[in-house]
Subunit: 295 residues, 6 copies
C-alpha cells in the first residue's frame, strides 16, 4: 500500500500483533468450525469489499494482514486509497485465494476496516465542517484501549491531526498539576526543567485570568478548556499568535464551525475516537463453487 | 467486585493483559512526564468517578486494575454495581492513593469504563425497547479488535445475551457454506459430523423457502436474515417453536420493538459493540495539595 | 497440508506460538551447539519420518512448522495424510534442506508428531473397539497444559469427537453447582438465563433419580457418571432419545464396547489425552556428507 | 513449598507463564460460564486433593499457582511433600477459599499435578527397579512441547536425574555429526574448540569399534546406543571407568535391571516423559452450601 | 522508591517485563542449580550493595524488582537515592530474605544496577565538565537495544536531559530527508503539515549556509553537526536565540567544555548510552549460616 | 549468512524477538514521522555500512533482520564475514530497497551491529594480548540484561569462548554455598548428587588452602579468584593439569598476558560484555533522489 506523507505508515510489527490478537479471539483453539466442516480444502474464492455507505477508507493494510496471517497466498488489491472517499456501493478492495482462509478472516478484516474507516469518516465530517477556517481538527487520548495507533492513524486518514500519542511524548499541564506544583509558574518551571528539549509544553486554562497567568511564562500551546466561542475569540486575541491555541470540550458537529471561526489553531474532539460509529463495509463473495467443481 | 450470575466474571489474566497493553500505549518508555515533573512523589489524592449522563455501568473492575497495575496501594471503591443504572451526576466509584499513580492511570481507567459502560447503556436501551416481549437482545462478532471479551461482558451488563464468542464455539452456516457444501442438507450433515456434541448449529436463511429447507434437517437455531417484521412473523409461525429463531440485519432502536413482537427469540444487533458511543464518565480530583502541604 | 472437513484446521498463529515455545526450550540462548560445531554451514541433507509401529498420523503440519521456523527453505512432503493409518516402517514424510536446520529441528518436530500421533492412535483404538454401535468417542478437558488445541485436533484425527473446548463454550453442571444453586431446577434455570442461545447445557447425574430430576427440565445432554453398563442401559431407556446421553468414568479399552452397546451417544475418555503413550516415529537421515563433499 | 536440594526450584516466572497459558485455554474470553451462573459470588468452599492410586507427588506448587492466578486469597496447604509417596486415598493437599475460583481452577490444577505426578511415579518405578546397582535413571529431550522444565523437575521428584536441558547446554555427538565432520576425531576436536570449558561432551557409539575410536579422544561420556546387556557389559569393561557410560534405547521396566547390572552409570529412558500415564488425583469438594446458607 | 521530579518514574510494567526477560536468561528451565543444591530451603541471609568506585546510582528500583520477582518477601532498602553520588565503599542498599532467592537474583540485580549507574556516572562527568555554562548534556537514540527506557532514565539520574525517545515523538530532518523532499523548505513544510501540533521539529545542518537556509523557515531547533567550536560559536551567533541550538558529533570529555562555551543550548553525546563502562557495584553477603544453624 | 563452526548460529526466533523489541522502542505507535513526512513512498535507496575504526564485525544477521522486519524486499549483502577484522573505512555490508524502510531501520540495525562488534573487538584485543600462550579468554554472566545470547555470540566472534550461559547450565560453587553447605566437601557432594551427569562443576577458591581442599574432591574446574600472577602460577602447579584452571578478577588488557603466562586454561573477563565501547560503524546513504526523480 502506498501512503501519502500525511498519513504515515503503521509500523508492521504493530499490525502483526493486533491482527494476531484479533484472530485469536475469533479462532480460539478450534478455529472456524463452520468453514472447516463445509468448505472443501481446495476451494478458492473471490470477494469484494463494498462500501454500504459513503465514507473515508482507512485500514486496508490491516485488513490485508488479517488474511495474510491465515494464508500468505491470498491476493488483496485495494481499489480506493487510504484516506480517500468511497461512495455508497463502491468496491473498496478485491480479495482472492483459498476459500477457507477468506471466510475465516472475513470478520477480523471487516472489524478493523469498518472501525478505522468509521473514525476517518467522522473526522472528515469535522474537517469539512470547518473548511476555509485556519483551524485543524485533532484527536485526544480518549481512544479505545489497545488500538491507539490504529485510531490515530485513522484520524490522519480523515484529514485530522494527532494530539500527543500518550502521557510520554508531550506535556499537558492541568489544574491538578498546577495546584500541586504551587502555581502555574512553578509547574511550568518544573516541567521545562524535567523535559527534554524536543518536548512541547501545553497548559490548560479555564478562563482569561488563567490564560494571562500562563502566558507570562514560556509555553508552546494553551488549551482553552470549555470556553464558549465569544470567550474563545477573546482568548485568541489575547494570545495574539504568540503560542498555539487549542479549543477543547463540548465540541460537536453543530458547534465546531463557530469554534473554528474564533481563530483557534486546533480543535480537539474526543468523539473522533471514542464514539465514532463504524463505516458500514461488507465483504461480498462470489459464490464458492460446490464440491463437484473443486478437485 | 461481586458479580451476579448473569454477568459472569472477566478472567483476571485477560484483565491484566488488556490493562498492561493500554498502559503501554499511554506510558511509552518515559511514563507520565507531566505528572512526574509537577506532582511531589509523596503526594496523595482522592477522586470520584462521576457519571455525566445517565447510563449503565460496566468495567469497574478493569478500571480498578488500571490503577493497581501502577500502584497496588490504591483503594478503589465501587458505589454503583456492575450492570446498574447511574443517574447523571452519580458517583460511580471512589479512588484514593498516591497522587502520581492516580493521575497517570486516570485516562486508561476512564477509557475502559466509558467504552464498556457505553455498550452496556446502548444494550439496555434495546432491552428496554422490547420490554414485555419474550425476545432477547444479543450481540454479534462485530466487536472492536482485541476487546471482544470486554464488550461481550458489557452487553451482559446491559441486560443482553451473548451470541457465539467466535468462529470456534458454535456453527453458523451461511449461504457460501451451503453452496460450497452442495446444499443445506449436505452442509448440515457435514457440520453435525464434524462438530462435537456440545456445539450448537444455526443456519442463516434469507426467505421462507430456505427456511423450510433448513427445517427439514435437525438444527438448533435459524437466523432469519434481513426480513421485514411481517415476513419474520410468518417465519416464526412456520418454525412453530421447534428451534430457536433469531432476527438479524437492519435492527435499530426504532425497528426493534416491531421485530420483537413477531415472536422471534433472539434479536442480534451489531451496533451494540461496533457503534456504541461512550458513556460520559469523568474523574474528579479533590485538588492535590500544594507541595508545602506535603512533607 | 489438506484437511478433510472432520479434522478442521489448526489456527496458524497457534502453531507458530507452540513451535516457538518448543524451540525456545531446546535452543536456549546458544542454539544447537553440537550441530553448529560439527556440521558445515553449507551442508544439505535429506531425511524421512518413519513409523516404528502402526498408528494414526497427526501433527505433520506442526512438524513442518518446526523446521520452517528455523529455515524457510526446508521442503517438507507428507506421504501419509493426517488421520490416516501408518503401518510399521511406513515413510510418513520426507524432509530436505540445510543439514544444520534439519538436525536442530528434529527433536521438536518429533516431539509434536509422536505425541499427537500417539493420541490419534489411542483414539482410533477406542473408536475401532465400538465399531458398529452408534456411539462416538469424545475427549475431555483432561489435556496436557498448553496443548489443548493440538490434542483435541489429534483426537479428531483418530476419529473421535471433541467435548467442549473449555469452561467457556458449554455448560456442564455438576453436583457442586446443583447444591450451591439449590437444586437441579434452579441450577438449570440460572444456567439457561446466563448462557447465550448458542450454548448447550449438560447435566451430570450419578443415578436414575438424579437423571429423572434433570429430565424434568430442558437440557441438551446428560452425563451419566460412573454407571455400570446395566445401569447405563436403563438410563438410556429412560432418556428415550429426548436428549444426548454421555457415559463417563472408568472407561477402558476393555469396557468401552459394553458401554457403547448400552446405546449411549457419547463416551468420553480422559485417557485419550492424559495418558496416551507416544506413537514411535523416528527421523532417519541419509548421512550428511563429509566436509570434503560440501564445497 | 520447601524443596530438598535434589529437587531444586521451578523458576517462579516459568510457573506463572505456564499457568496463565493453561488457564487461557480453559477460560477463553467468557470464563467459567457454568460456575458463574450457578455459584453465588460470595460462596466459599473447601476441597482436598486425593490420590486415587499410589504414586509420587510432583507439581503442588504449580497447582497452587493455578488457584492463586484466579484469586490470591485462596489457601493451599500441601500435606504430602514434593517427591514423596502418596498411598491410595491419601490427602495430598487441602485448598480453601472462594468457591467460584476453586471450581474454575480445579481442572488446570489437576492437569498439572496429575501429569507431573505421573512422570514422577513412573520415574520412581524405574529407580526402584534398579535399586542397589550404581546406575541412575535419566530423562531425555523427548518431552511434551512447552513443558520441559516441568517434566524434568518431575523426573527429579521421582528420584531420576536430568540429562541435558536442550541442544544448548551440552554436546551429544551422533553419527550424522561424525560423518559430516569427517570422523569422530575431527568431530570431537571441533566440538571441544567450539564449546565453552563448562560444557560436557558425550559421543554416541553403536558398537565396540566405535567405542574404542571415541575413547582415543578426550570425552566426558559415551552413549552406548541400543546395546544388549552382554555387549553393554563388555563396553563398560572397555571404558574401565575413564568416562561416564550411558545406556540408551529400548529400555523398559522389564529390561532396566539387567541393563543396570552391566555397570553403566546412566540409563536414559524417553518413556519417562513421553509416555507416562497420569497419576490419578481428584479434587473432592465439601459440598458448596446452598445460597440460603451464603447470604 | 521516591523520585524527585527531574528523574521521573520508570513505568512499573516496563520494569516487570525487563526483569522477567533477564531472569529468564539466567534461570533457563532448571533455575539456579548451584544454589538449589547447596543452600537449605529455609536459610535466610542479608547482603549489602557496595560501590567499589565512586559514581552516581541509578536503577535501585529495578534491582529490587529482580529480587521480588523471585520472592515477594525480600526486603530491599535503598540507602543512597537515585541520582545521588556514592563514594567508594558506600553501602548503596541493603537486602534481606530467603538466602536462595537472594543468591539467585544477585546477578540480574547487579547487571541492571551497574549498567544503569555506569550511564548515570558517565553522564555526570559530562555534566560536571560543562558546569557554569548554560548548556545541557543530552542523550541520543544510540542506546542498547531493548533498554532505551532504562538508559534514558539513567541519563536523567546523571543530570542529563533526554533527546527524543524514538522516531515517533519528534522530527529530526537530516540531509537525506532534505534531498528527497526537494530542499529544506519543502521538507519542513511537509513535516509541519504531517506532524501534530505538539511535535517539535529540528533540522540538522552541516555548515553556516545550511543553517541560514533552515532558519528561513519556522523550526524549533537546529542540530549543528560536527562543527568545531569556532564554527559553532559563529552558528550560535547567527541563530541569535531564535531557536534551540544543539551540538553533536565527536563530543568527548576533553572537548565538551569548549563546545559548551560556544553558547549552544544542548550537547548530545551518543557515548553516554553506547559506550559507558559499568559502575562497579558488588553484593556482599553476610555468610549464609551452615545447615546446623538453620533447623 | 554463513557461520564457521566456532561462531554457531543465533537462534532465529531469538533474533526476531530482539529486533521486534528494539523496533518497538523506536517506532512507538506513530512510526518514523520524519521519514514518512519527507520521503516519497515509492523512493528506493542504497547505503553502505562503513567501519569508522578498525574492529571485529559481529551482528550482521541481526542488522539484516531489523530491515527485513520492516520490509522483506530489502537486500542486505555482507562484505565482511562475522568474526572478521574490518579496517577503518571498510565497507562491511551493503543494503538496498525502499528508502523509507532503510531510513527507519537504520538506527536499530546500527545499535545491534555496533554494540556486538564492540564486544567482538574488545574480545579480540584480549585474545591477541595472550597470543602464543595456551589460555583462552572467556566471558561471564555480567551481560547487558536481555542481550546475553547476542553478547556471548559476539564474544565468540571475537575469538573468545563462553563461560556458562546462566545459573541453569553449570555449577559454580562460591564461598556462600560452601559455608551454607557445611564445607567444600558437603557442597560438592550435594552438587554432584543434584546435578545431571552432563553438568560440570567448578569451585571458586581464594587461596591455596581452599584450592587444596577443593582438589580433594572430584571437580571439573577451579576458579582462582583474584590471585596475583605469582600465586596463580603456584596454584596452576598444584593443580597439575588434573582439572581446568580459571583465573578471574581484576583482569585488564595490561595484566592479562602475565596472567596467561602462569599457565591457567581460562581467563574470564567481565568487561568484555559489561564495559565494551561500541565499534563505530555508520550507514552512508547514497542520496535519496528528489521527488521529481521518483515516479
Amino acid at each position: 500500500m502506498t501512503h501519502p506523507p500525511l498519513l504515515g505508515v503503521l509500523p508492521p510489527p504493530l499490525i502483526a500483533r493486533a491482527v494476531d490478537a484479533a484472530l485469536a479471539e475469533d479462532l480460539g483453539t478450534c478455529g472456524d468450525i463452520t468453514t472447516d466442516a463445509t468448505i472443501p480444502a481446495g476451494a478458492v474464492a473471490r470477494a469484494t469489499f463494498g462500501a454500504r455507505k459513503a465514507g473515508v477508507v482507512s485500514g486496508l493494510e490491516v485488513a490485508a494482514a488479517a488474511f495474510h496471517a491465515l494464508d500468505r497466498s491470498i491476493v488483496f488489491d485495494a481499489l480506493v486509497g487510504e484516506g480517500q472517499q468511497a461512495v455508497p456501493g463502491a468496491v473498496v478492495a478485491r480479495v482472492a485465494g483459498p476459500a477457507r482462509a477468506l471466510l475465516t478472516g472475513e470478520r477480523v478484516a471487516l472489524n478493523f476496516l469498518s472501525h478505522m474507516s468509521g473514525i476517518a469518516t467522522l473526522t472528515r465530517r469535522y474537517v469539512d465542517a470547518i473548511g476555509g477556517t485556519g483551524a485543524r481538527i485533532a484527536d485526544t487520548r480518549k481512544t479505545t484501549p489497545g488500538l491507539r495507533a490504529f485510531e490515530k492513524y485513522a484520524v490522519r486518514c480523515g484529514g485530522g491531526t494527532n494530539h500527543r500519542s500518550g502521557l510520554h511524548d508531550a506535556i499537558l499541564i492541568k489544574d491538578n498539576h498546577i495546584v500541586a506544583a504551587g502555581g502555574v509558574g512553578p509547574a511550568l518551571a518544573a516541567a521545562r526543567a524535567a523535559a527534554g528539549h524536543m518536548v512541547k509544553i501545553e497548559v490548560e486554562v479555564g478562563d482569561l485570568e488563567e490564560l494571562r497567568a500562563a502566558l507570562a511564562y514560556p509555553v508552546d500551546a494553551v488549551l482553552l478548556d470549555n470556553m464558549a466561542p465569544p470567550l474563545l475569540a477573546e482568548a485568541v486575541k489575547i494570545v495574539g499568535g504568540r503560542v498555539l491555541t487549542e479549543a477543547s470540550g463540548g465540541v460537536t458537529l453543530e458547534t465546531v464551525r463557530a469554534i473554528a471561526e474564533t481563530g483557534v489553531d486546533i480543535i480537539s474532539v474526543g468523539a473522533l475516537t471514542h464514539s465514532a460509529p463504524i463505516l458500514d463495509i461488507g465483504l461480498d463473495f462470489e459464490p464458492v463453487p460446490a464440491p463437484t467443481m473443486v478437485c
